[in-house]
Amino acid sequence: MVCGTAGNKQQQREINMSKESQMRAAINQKLIEMGERERLKELLRAKLIECGWRDQLKALCKEVIKEKGIENVTVEDLVAGVTPKGRALVPDSVKKELLQRIRAFLAQHST
């Protein structure tokens, strides 16, 4: 598997993307390079468990599985059945805290 030929394709992609998604991509890149993305993922995971969100989602998943039957249910069934409610159930406090963390990180590492 050759991994060295990403260069040209990347330029091409950037032209096709909107300004906003370019900025998103740049931020994402910075987060990964500094290892912050993994830390944020862990922080989010811990917060969502703490506030009971994961347990709520587990219950929602169980409902979908009961409906479809355990032998037939696919990951897509679960994703489709649970995503809208799941997103809505994330507490504002958790969203705020993550945003604050990201802002602080960007302020510290702005180029």
Binding site: A6, Q10, M17, A25, I32, M34, G35, E38, R39
Partner: protein
């Protein structure tokens, strides 16, 4: 969905597929942190990807080849270099056009099969995924991920052969059982109640972790294991612990006989015998008695730091000794309790809000950890001054055990008198040990006098789970225990009689042995 994965992976599992898969995990799913750039290049099994390059891959190339997005559940094709969104079906198009059936989710590492149209769980691939994640997390200093218990083949067999299941509801009384008094054996019964309700100890024994290597029938750990089985059997009739009593008499001669004994002495003797019998399990490793890793040491052993400071050169000599319990002097004993050391101006610590005058557990701990002048008749040889000098000594906690047992010294056996001190000492439900730690003392010495209670540091927070009380006099008395079940239900254990108790009952009781359990446990 078969646990053996799907057959479509067989086309992928050729040549050096394991190494290729590892590289994908390392570069695109769980790449190490920036710190790894400084490290030497890692040579893996034939493959060779410098760490710095891994970060760059993840950062710069993880975007959809069709629309450039890095979100939308990005997947990477396993057969060629192609990244595509899952939500927008870009990866699906690629799979159809190129007949590449497998893709990997770059967020969680799951493997998707386009033929089965679902994520598949191939044992070999799962193994690689787990190992790579553990490696990456370690590099980033995130620590071990908690993974749920999965039964082994043998355990599945046992579960199928034994279909009876017990459900623990909020009101069930499983774990509660009375103990018959075999003749002044309440000193033993009260400790047994405390031990059978120590969560970690319970978990250890109920999951059959003790593998006995003692030849004879006199292993106390085996008997303990049996005891847990009895307590959690669901039987409500009181248990008769005659075998336990016999073993205790055999291994702790000083407690043998039918006279009344001290519960605290029994606790220490029991822990000692259990510790010794556990050590026989790891007989091969137990060369150093101070570095035992038996369950008793894991749960009960803490480290007590003793600092002796020379008053002349201010040199400090430090020793750390293991301890299973902390014995605290009480006001009213022949050793002076008040005044406490400077700085203890009655500030409220641990929410002790009893009317002034009443002694608290925190008062006792403060007294225990105060600097004590050793006096001119007890000069210590100072290695700095090379002569005998006066010194001060101070005790602090170097390392806290998971279960902390506080022994209030109510029985005075001095030369002049033998009596019981019945002074009321109030103790809290939740206890923060931070002010008594060796590390806090260091900060105090560096000028920060009043340590603000750090609400984010949960390491030193403890919860009360058992209280042993003594009623009566030194010569003749009776022991009972309050134990905690299900977070906030308390029960009083009086030999064979178990009754429901309120938190107020517990906190108003005199208190002789107080058992606290660490609130938050970290995985190593």
């Amino acid at each position: 969905m078969s646990p053996a994965g799907c057959s479509h992976v067989n086309g992928f599992k050729v040549d050096n597929w394991k190494q290729n898969l590892r590289v994908i995990y390392q570069c695109f799913v769980w790449s190490g942190s920036a710190e790894t750039r400084k490290r030497k290049c890692v040579v893996e099994e034939g493959g060779f990807v410098p760490d710095a390059l891994k970060i760059t891959f993840k950062a710069k190339s993880c975007m959809c080849h069709m629309c450039g997005a890095h979100l939308n559940r990005l997947h990477s094709c396993l057969h060629c270099v192609f990244f595509g969104c899952f939500s927008k079906k870009h990866i699906h198009e690629h799979a159809k056009n190129k007949r590449h059936n497998l893709a990997i989710d770059l967020l969680y590492g799951g493997i998707y099969c386009f033929v089965c149209q679902d994520y598949i769980y191939d044992k070999d691939m799962e193994q690689i995924a787990k190992e790579e994640q553990r490696k990456a997390w370690k590099l980033q200093g995130i620590g071990e991920k908690y993974s749920m218990w999965e039964p082994t083949k043998r355990e599945l067999e046992l579960l199928r052969h034994n279909p009876k299941r017990r459900k623990i509801t909020a009101n069930c009384t499983i774990g509660l059982r009375g103990l018959i008094n075999l003749g002044n054996t309440c000193f033993m019964n009260c400790i047994v109640q405390a031990l059978t309700h120590t969560p970690l100890l319970r978990d250890f024994f109920l999951s059959d972790r003790h593998k006995c290597e003692m030849q004879s029938n006199s292993c106390l750990v085996c008997e303990m294991s049996q005891l847990f089985q009895e307590f959690y059997s669901g039987h409500r009739s009181p248990h008769i612990p005659f075998r336990l009593l016999h073993l205790v008499w055999t291994h702790a001669r000083h407690l043998a006989g039918y006279e009344q004994q001290d519960a605290h002495e029994f606790l220490i003797a029991a822990l000692d015998v259990l510790h010794r019998h556990c050590k026989d399990d790891n007989g091969k490793k137990a060369n150093n008695p101070n570095h035992c890793n038996c369950i008793i040491d894991q749960i009960f052993t803490g480290g007590l730091q003793s600092d002796v400071t020379c008053q002349v050169c201010h040199g400090v000599s430090t020793t750390i000794d293991p301890f299973w319990d902390i014995s605290l002097d009480l006001p009213g004993s022949s050793t002076p309790f008040w005044p406490l050391s400077p700085g203890s101006d009655g500030s409220v610590v641990n929410g002790d809000s009893h009317p002034s005058g009443a002694t608290t557990l925190t008062d006792c701990l403060r007294r225990f950890t105060r600097p004590e002048h050793l006096g001119s008749s007890a000069k210590i040889k100072c290695s700095g001054c090379h002569s005998y000098q006066e010194s001060t000594k101070q005790l602090t906690m170097k390392r806290l055990p998971i279960v902390a047992c506080f022994h209030l010294k109510r029985f005075e056996h001095s030369a002049k008198l033998r009596r019981k001190i019945t002074t009321y000492v109030s103790f809290p439900l939740e206890l923060d040990m931070t002010p008594f730690m060796a590390s806090s003392k260091e900060s105090r010495m560096n000028g920060q006098y009043q340590q603000p209670v750090d609400s984010l540091n949960n390491d030193n927070k403890y919860s009360l789970f058992a209280v042993v009380n003594h009623q009566g006099t030194l010569e003749s008395g009776h022991y009972t225990t309050f134990i905690r079940q299900h977070k906030d239900q308390w029960f009083k254990c009086d030999d064979a009689i178990i009754t429901k108790a309120s938190i107020k009952d517990v906190l108003d009781s005199e208190g002789y042995l107080l058992f606290y359990h660490k609130q938050f446990l970290e995985y190593e």
